[in-house]
Symmetry: C2
Subunit: 128 residues, 2 copies
DNA sequence: GCAGGTCTACTACAACTGTCAGAGACAGTC
DNA sequence: GACTGTCTCTGACAGTTGTAGTAGACCTGC
């Protein structure tokens, strides 16, 4: 027996999924081109593999075709994936507590004044 | 050729490293017992493997012995590991921007009033 | 001086990941 | 109708990860 089947997104799969979120439904070639534009050299069949795996894991679907090529679109929402990932990080690092991560972020990362006031506003709305 | 050698912590290795952070230097058996206390059933040799890998990757060292057993201690600091992980998450999800994650956290996770005021105080100190 | 327990070292192995090549299907073109 | 290009499908392979068994070294108590 090995580890439990988690149907979890790997890093490269997530990168592909992000293309679908950011640019809308794409063919294999389309995704590959977006990668190439960003300087990420990757073979056509590699991208195909990731899209197939995304579909197997339920994060994408390919129902339509454009000419001979399948068009893949994201099925999972960006928000749900982000939440899952953040939760996993929280569990791994702080037994699930969110506050330490929030503090760590605000202390160690850079924010513009605008971002800071947005954060402040949000916190004020939550009361306390 | 496969992916670049990243000398990256895996999830289970991180869990072991956390024991070293939380409970101080430990033998293999010590780490295993901490896991068992938390209901994580794992074989002695499995823990040994993780500690060996941690040492190979430079996150831990085993210089002393207690009786016949090596005592492992964390070499990498919790802070540095957390920073690296958070950074990786930021890159994967938001091309490195910190603000969206901060907002996501505050919106979607729960905080006590005390935590909120700590956050507010920190934000106020950063100006803006 | 050997039986039993503990330790490390070595080996193993399946699932997951990143990466891609080759084969076969189909459309357009000369 | 053969050539070219584009697609998908299938297979492959090495590195990582989670998990653990086994072997050999070493004490210790009888």
């Amino acid at each position: 027996m090995a580890r439990k089947a988690r149907e979890q997104l790997s890093e490269a799969e997530l990168a592909v999924l992000r293309v679908l979120w950011d640019f809308g439904p794409q063919t294999v070639r389309g995704v590959m081109e977006r990668f190439h534009e960003r300087g990420r050299r990757v073979a056509y069949t590699t991208v195909l593999t990731f899209l197939v795996r995304l579909e197997q894991k339920g994060f994408a679907v390919s129902d339509k075709k454009v000419g001979p090529a399948f068009v893949y679109r994201a099925k999972a929402s960006r928000e749900s994936v982000v939440r899952t990932r953040v939760r996993a990080l929280l569990d791994q690092l702080y037994d699930g507590a969110a506050a330490p991560l929030a503090l760590q972020l605000i202390e160690n990362e850079r924010f513009t004044d605008e971002e800071l006031s947005k954060l402040r506003k949000l916190i004020d709305e939550l009361g306390g």
